[in-house]
Subunit: 485 residues, 4 copies
C-alpha cells in the first residue's frame, strides 16, 4: 500500500483499505448506535449547543465500529476530527471506510506495518501549517508519546543541533518514532512545539497509557493536562472486565475454533482484564489457572476457586495461555518450547511485549505456518511440535475478532466525550494544570445511569431521610472516592 | 452456480465453491485432528485391517472441518465416500475443497439454494448405475427421506403409473423433493428400489432425524436398519449440550457483535440443546428466560434459577430469542412484530421451521436489509423498527459461525464410525433388522474413554471386590441402560 | 435409652427422644407443608376418597420434618402407619415427636446405636399377631432386607432346624440382623413368612436400595413387587442432584464452619449426587477435583471444568473429601494418614462403608476427640495431626444438618405416594409381579407439574399441530422412555 | 440474667452464659487457629517482643470463635483485654466461655436485651478508677459512640449542670445510652474525659462504624485517632464479599431449611455485602433480583445477569428478601403486608433498622409465632398469612448461624492486629492525629500474602526489569492507592 493521502470529493483526507466498504460500515454503525445509549444521549444533550465548535480533535484509538460512533458523536457536537488506530491489527476496515466517507479524516487499516502505523499517527496529528489538534483522544498513549518525544528532540536540536539517531535504540518500533521526528525536524524544527502550544489536553483510554502519564507527571515532564478515563469506574470496572469477558472467547473462537471446555487455560495476571478473561474461560468449561505477582489479586483468584501457580508449574500441561499483565516478558520463548503441541498463546494486554515474539521469531530453525491472518502455527525444530500464536502477540480480541461489544464501549466512550468536553470547556479557566485527573464521581455515576434504561432497569430513589442518614445528597454522588465497587 | 459436476485430476467427482481453498482447509483439518482423539484412535485401531474395504458410504452431514476428519477416518478405514451437507448454510468451503481435492466426492457449498441442496443430496447418493451406497451417515434424515419417498413413489408408479405431483404439497422444499423423484422416475423407475436393496443401513446423527426413524419404525415403513447415534450418551449429552454452549455465543458474536451481558435472552425449549444455550447465555451475563412444554424440563430450569414463562409474556421485553425445540411454529411473525427494535431472533434446532420465516417474508410492507450474509434486519412498516434474523432461520451456529468445535464432534463422530462399522460388520449376520438401534453401553463408554487422556484426565480403577459389590464387571459397562447421566 | 415401647394416650406405640418437642415439630411441619406442593396436592386430590383405607404402611426412611409431611399425607389418604428411620443419625427428634404424638407409630431418634436401629426397624414392621404391613416405604432397603433374610432363615430352619448364627459373619451390623431373626424364630418360626404373605409391595427411595432390588430380581429371590422410585426423573435428577447441592454445604457449615472458598475439595464419584456436590463446592469457591471410574461421567466433569484425578494424586493436598459413590472402600485409613491436618472427610452416600471407619477406629494409637456430636477429630500418633470425620462416616447431610430441603423432597415423596397408591390399587389385579418397576412417564411429568406453580412458573401448551408434528399427545407424555433430561 | 459481674479463680471479671462450655469453645478455637494463618503469623512474628506489654485493649466486636482467636493474638502480644459483643445475638456462648476462663474479661452472651447489651459495653470499657482502655477495637462504633456521647454530656454538665435526659429521644436504644451516661455522671463527672485522655486510638471494623467516624472527622468532633480497617482491601473485598457469600445461605439454612433453588430472592443493595449475597443466592439456584440507588452498582448487577427492579415491583412475588444497604427503612411493614405467605425477610447489614421491626411489632392484630430462637413467623390479621423474620431484623448470619468463617475473618482480624500495633507503636510520635486513616498498601498486601500459603498458592516474582518497567518496587506495593481490585 503506497503511503499517500487520498481525498474525498469534499476534500477531506483519508487513507483506508477500501472505501467501497462504507455502506456495510454504515449499516453496522447504525446497529451499534442502538447499543450505545450513552453516546446517543450525549448527542441529544449537547448536540444543539455545539460545544466543540472550532475544536480540532485527533484520536489514536482502535478504528472500530464502536469508535465510529464515538467519532460521529464528537462531530455531532461540532468538532473536526482526524483519526488513526492505536494498533496495527485493530481497525475494522468497513468502519474506517464509513467514517472516511462521511465524517472525519481517517488513516487506518487492518494489518498495517509498524512503518505504516506511525505514518498514520503522524497524519492524524497533522492539521496543516497552523499546528496540531486542540484535543487528543489517546489509547495507550502513542499520540501523546510522539509529541513528547518530538518536543524533547526539538529542544536538543535547538540547543545542540543534534538530530535524533534511530540507531541509538534496539527497539525496532522506537527507531521508527525517532526517524519520523528526525525527518520532521528537517522541515520544521518547531513542529511539535507548535502542537504542544495549541494542545488543551488529552484524555487517555487505557491502563497502559495512564501509567505512562503518571510517570510523566512524577518526572515533571507532562506537557499538557490529561484526564485519566481508564480509572473512571464505568470504564475500568466495565470495559476492562466485562469487555474482555466477552471478547476473549470471541477471539479464541474466531481464530482457532478450539473447544474451550475441558481445556487447561492459564491467565497471566488477575487485574480487571485478567478477571474478565478468567471468568469467561471458567464459564466456558476450562480449568483455569492464574499467575499473579500481587498477593491481594492472588487471594481474590483463590476465593473464586481458581488455583494460583507460576507459569513454570503449568507450562507443559496447559492448552491455552493468555497474558493480561500490562507488564513485559511474561511468556518467553523458553516457555513456548516446553508447551504442548498446538497450545494457543495469546495476549489481550495493550502492548505486544508480554509475549516474547522476538525470541520466537529468532529461534533457530523455527518455522512459521500461517493458518490464516492473525493465526500462526510456529513449529520448533527439536520436537516438530508447534504452538499457535494469535495476532502476532498483539491484542487478540481486536486482532482476531472485533474487540469489545458496543454496549460496554458506550460506557467507556461516554467518559471520553465527557472528558473532552471538560478539557475544552475549561481551556481558559486554568482548572486543569499539567497533571493527570480523573473525572468526578457524579459524572461517573451519570455515565452508568445513561446505560440503565436500555437494559430495562429501575433504580430505587433515596428518600431525603435516607440520604441524610448516610450523609449523601439524594441525587448522589453516593460513594466516597476510595470506594472500590 | 451452474449445477454441473466437476472432476479432480484423478477423476473423482465434486462440486464445491473454490478448490483453491484446499490448502487452507488442509491446515485447519490438521489442527482439528489434534483435537479429535476419538477419530484418530479409530484410524490407529482399525486402519490396518481396512474394515470398510469395498464399502460405499454416502454422508449427508454439515460439510465442516470436523466432518472432514470424519470422512478421512472413513476413507482411512477403507471406505469410498460421497458427501453432501445437510444444511444450505453449514458448509465450510475450505473444508469442502480439501476433501474434494484429497479424499472424497463432495457436493456442498455455503449458501446453496434449496434446489441446489437437493441436487447435492442426489449427487451424494448417486454411485452410478450399480445402485447407491452401502451405508448412509445421515444428519436430520434427508438422505434417508429421499430414498423412502423415492421407493414409495416408485411403488405407486409401478401400480398406478402415476408420477408424484409437486403441486400436491404447499411445502416448497417438499415440492423440490417430489420433482427430483418424478424426474428420476422417468429415467429409471427402479432407482430407489435398487438403492434400498443395496443399503446395509443408516446411522443417524441428530434428534430430529431420530424422531423420523422411530416414527417409521412405528409405522412399519422403515426400509433398512438404523443406528440412532444421537442417543449415545457421548453424543446427546455432549454434542447437543456442550457443543451448543460453545457455538451459540460464537454465532451471536460473529453475526452481530452484540454484548450478551445485561441482555434479556429467551431460550425456547430446555432439552439438551436448550440447556447448553441457556447455560452459555447465563454465563455471559444475560438474564435468561426459558419456555417449555414439558414440566420436568421446566422444573430443571427453575432449579438452575431460570424463570419459566411463555413467549407471550416476554416477547416485547427480550433482546435475544433462540429456538431449540425441534418443533415447528415457535416464533411467529405476530411475535416478531411485537419485539423491541433490533431484537435478535435465531434458531439452533435442526430445521428452519421453528421461526415463521414464511410469515415474515410475506408480511405486507416488510423490508429486508442484509447487513452481511446470514445477518438480516427486517423492518416492519408500522413501527419502522426492525428485528435481526440470523441464518435466515436456519441453524445459526453453522450458518453464522463454524458450528461445534472439534473436540466435542470427535465424540459424536467416533460414535458414527463405530455405528458404521457395526452395520457393515454385521451386514450378513442378520443381527440388525429394519429397526432403530442404539449402540451398546460399553461402546459408549469406550468413546468417552478415548477422549479422556487428551484432557490429561486419570480414571480410577475398580477393584474386583468393589466391582462385585456393585455388580458390574471391572472393565464396565458401569451403568444400567436407563441411567440418565 | 431403655428399649421399651411407649404409648400415647390414644394407645399408639412409639419410641422417640422427647415427646415434649412435638409442638416445635408441628410448627416446622406446618412450614414444610407450604414448601411441599406435591404432597399437599395428593391430599387434596386423593384425600376425600380415602384410597388407603385399611392399608398398613411401614416406612423405613429418615424421620425428618419432610418425612413427617409424607407420613401425614399417607394417613390423610386413610393409611395406618408405623415408621422408623433408615439411618442412626438422620432422625430429627422434634419431627419424630410430632408424628408420634399426632399421627403414626414412630420408633426413631437421632443417635441410635446399631442395636437400637434394628430394634426400631423390627418395631416398625411389627403390626402384631396378624402379620406385617401391606406396604413398605423403604430407603436403602433395610426393611426389605430384614424380611428377605427372615424368610430365608425360616426356610432353612424349617428344613434343617438350624438357627442363623451371628458368628458366621464378620460384619458387625449383619450380626445384629441375624440375632434379631434368630431370636424371632424362637417365638414364631413363621413370622417373616406371614409378613411376606401379606405384603403387597415395596416402593424404594434410593440408588442403593434399588441396586439391591435389581440384584434380587436377577437372582430370582425377590419376594414381592417393587417400585423403583429413585429412577423417576423427578426423584433422581432432583433430589439426588439439587438436594445434595443444597445439603452438602449445609452439613459442612453446621459441622465445621469451614470456609469452603479457597479450599481444595475432592468429590469421589460424579453421578447425580456427585454432580450436586461438585456444583455446590465449586460455586462456593472451592477448587474441586473429581474421581470417577466411569469414563462418561468423567468426561462430563471435564466439560464442566473439573479436573479428573485419582484419590492418590490429591490425597495429601486436599482440604475436603466427600464420597458419593454408592460403592465401598473409597477412602481407606491409609489415605487418611496422608491427609493434611484437619482435612475434612465425609460421606453423602447411603451407606457408611465408603469411608474405612473400621480401619480408622482400629488404627494403632489413633485418638478420637469429639468436637461436638457427629464432628470428630481423629489424631494419628505418628504425625500428631488429625482429620475431621463427619457423622462417623454416615450421610453427613442428615447426620450434621437436616438433610434435603422440603421442596425437593416433595418431588421425591410425591413419587412415593403415587407408587404406594399404584401398588395398593393394583393389589388384586396381578399387574405387578415380583419384579422391579418404574413409574410411567406421565406420572413423572405430573409430579413435576404439581411443583411448578409454587415457583410462579408458566408452561407453554402445545398446539394440536405441534403435538402431531413431534408425535406426542398434547397433554404428554412428551419424551421417550430413554430420554435422559 | 442478673447483671452482676463474676470472677474467675484468678480474679478476672466476666459475664457469660455458661462457663462450662469453655472446653467445647477451646476445641473449636483450636480448629479455627488452623484456619487463621494471618493471626497465627502475627503471634509468631510479634509474640516474642511483646509489643502490647502494658496496653489495655477494649473490644466491642461479635464474640465468636474467630474473635476468640483475635483476642488471644492480642494477649499473646502482651495486651490486657476486655471484650463485649457488638450485637445482642452474635455471641457464641462457648467462645465467650473459653475466653472468659482462659484469656480475657468477657461480657457477652447470645440473646442479650438492649439493656444488657449496653451494660456489657460499659463493663468492657471500665478498667477501674485509673481510666479506660488505651486502645479500642470497635465494630459498628458503639464503644466509640459511648465515649463521645459521654464526653459531650460531661461538658454540658460541667457548663450547665444539666444531666442528659433519656426522654429527649424517641430512639429506645439511645434512651439506654443516655441513661447509662446520666447514671455515670452522678458518680464520676469526668469518667469519659478520663477515658478520652488515655485513649490512643480506635480501629474500626465495619462500613457502618467507618461512616460514623468520617462524619465526626468532617464535623471536627472526633476525639482520638481512628484506623479504618474496613477499607483495607483485604477486609472489605474479602470479609464483606466472600464472608457474606458463605454466611448468608448458612443463616438461611439453619434458620429455615428452605430450599433456595427455584425461589425468587431480592437483595436490597449491591455493595460488597450485596454482591456476596447475590452471588450466593444465584449459585444456589435462586432467581435473584437486586434493588439499588447507585447507578454504577446497578449496572454491575446487570452485567452479571441480575435484574434491577424496585422493591415495590417484586414485593408480592419474591420468596426471600435480604437487606444489605447500611441505610434505614428499606423494608417497611407496608411491604411486608403484601408479601407471599412464609416469605423470608432478613437483614445482613450492621444495624437492625433496615427492616421496619417497630412497624411490624406495632401492626394492629399482628401475631408473632416463634418457631425457634431467632426465627419468628409474624401473621397478619387481614390475610392470616405470615412472613418469617430472622434474628429479629438483626444480622442474620450471626444471629441464625455462626457468622463468617475463620479463614476470611483471619484477613480482617490481621488488619485489626496491625492497626492496633500501628496505633500503639506510634502513640507518642504524633503520626496519627484525630483523623481517620487507612492502613498503607504494603501492609494490606502483607495481610494477603500471609493467607496464600495455607491455600497452597504460589506467587510469581517480578524481575527487576519488570518491576522497573511498571515502576513499582520488586517487593511491592504493586498498585496505586486508587486501584479498585
Amino acid at each position: 500500500m503506497a503511503l499517500s493521502v487520498e481525498k474525498t470529493s469534499s476534500g477531506r483526507e483519508y487513507k483506508v483499505k477500501d472505501l467501497s466498504q462504507a455502506d456495510f460500515g454504515r449499516l453496522e454503525i447504525e446497529l451499534a448506535e442502538v447499543e450505545m445509549p450513552g453516546l446517543m444521549s450525549c448527542r441529544t444533550e449537547f448536540g444543539p449547543s455545539q460545544p466543540f465548535k472550532g475544536a480540532r480533535i485527533t484520536g489514536s484509538l482502535h478504528m472500530t465500529i464502536q469508535t465510529a460512533v464515538l467519532i460521529e458523536t464528537l462531530t455531532a457536537l461540532g468538532a473536526e476530527v482526524r483519526w488513526c488506530s492505536c494498533n496495527i491489527f485493530s481497525t475494522q476496515d468497513h468502519a474506517a471506510a464509513a467514517i472516511a466517507r462521511d465524517s472525519a479524516a481517517v488513516f487506518a487499516w487492518k494489518g498495517e506495518t509498524l512503518q505504516e502505523y506511525w505514518w498514520c499517527t503522524e497524519r492524524a496529528l497533522d492539521w496543516g501549517p497552523g499546528g496540531g489538534p486542540d484535543l487528543i483522544v489517546d489509547d495507550g498513549g502513542d499520540a501523546t508519546l510522539l509529541i513528547h518525544e518530538g518536543v524533547k528532540a526539538e529542544e536538543i536540536y535547538e540547543k545542540t543541533g543534534k538530530l535524533p539517531d534511530p540507531a541509538s535504540t534496539d527497539n525496532a518500533e522506537f527507531q521508527i518514532v525517532l526517524t519520523i521526528i528526525r525527518d520532521g525536524l528537517k522541515t520544521d524544527p518547531k513542529r511539535y512545539h507548535k502542537m504542544k502550544e495549541r494542545l488543551v489536553g488529552v484524555s487517555e483510554e487505557t491502563t497502559t497509557g495512564v501509567k505512562r502519564l503518571y510517570q510523566m507527571q512524577i518526572n515533571g515532564t507532562l506537557l499538557f493536562p490529561a484526564i485519566n478515563v481508564n480509572d473512571s469506574v464505568t470504564k475500568s470496572k466495565f470495559d476492562n472486565l466485562y469487555g474482555c469477558r466477552h471478547s476473549l472467547p470471541d477471539g479464541l473462537m474466531r481464530a482457532t475454533d478450539v473447544m474451550i471446555a475441558g481445556k487447561v487455560a492459564v491467565v497471566c495476571g488477575y487485574g480487571d482484564v485478567g478477571k474478565g478473561c478468567a471468568a469467561a474461560l471458567k464459564q466456558a468449561g476450562a480449568r483455569v489457572i492464574v499467575t499473579e505477582i500481587d498477593p491481594i489479586c492472588a487471594l481474590q483468584a483463590l476465593m473464586e476457586g481458581i488455583p494460583l501457580l507460576t507459569l513454570e508449574d503449568v507450562v507443559s500441561e496447559a492448552d491455552i495461555f493468555v497474558t493480561t499483565t500490562g507488564n513485559k516478558d511474561i511468556i518467553m520463548v523458553d516457555h513456548m518450547r516446553k508447551m504442548k503441541n498446538n497450545a494457543i498463546v495469546c495476549n489481550i494486554g495493550h502492548f505486544d511485549n508480554e509475549i516474547d515474539m522476538l525470541g520466537l521469531e529468532t529461534y533457530p530453525g523455527v518455522k512459521r505456518i500461517t493458518i490464516k491472518p492473525q493465526t500462526d502455527r510456529w513449529v520448533f525444530p527439536e520436537t516438530n511440535t508447534g504452538i499457535i500464536i494469535l495476532a502476532e502477540g498483539r491484542l487478540m480480541n481486536l486482532g482476531c475478532a472485533t474487540g469489545h461489544p458496543s454496549f460496554v464501549m458506550s460506557c467507556s466512550f461516554t467518559n471520553q466525550v465527557i472528558a473532552q468536553l471538560e478539557l475544552w470547556n475549561e481551556r481558559t479557566t486554568g482548572k486543569y494544570e499539567k497533571k493527570v485527573y480523573v473525572l468526578p464521581k457524579h459524572l461517573d455515576e451519570k455515565v452508568a445511569a445513561l446505560h440503565l434504561s436500555k437494559l430495562g432497569a429501575k433504580l430505587t430513589k433515596l428518600t431525603k431521610e435516607q440520604a441524610d442518614y448516610i450523609s449523601v445528597p439524594v441525587e448522589g454522588p453516593y460513594k466516597p472516592a476510595h470506594y472500590r465497587y
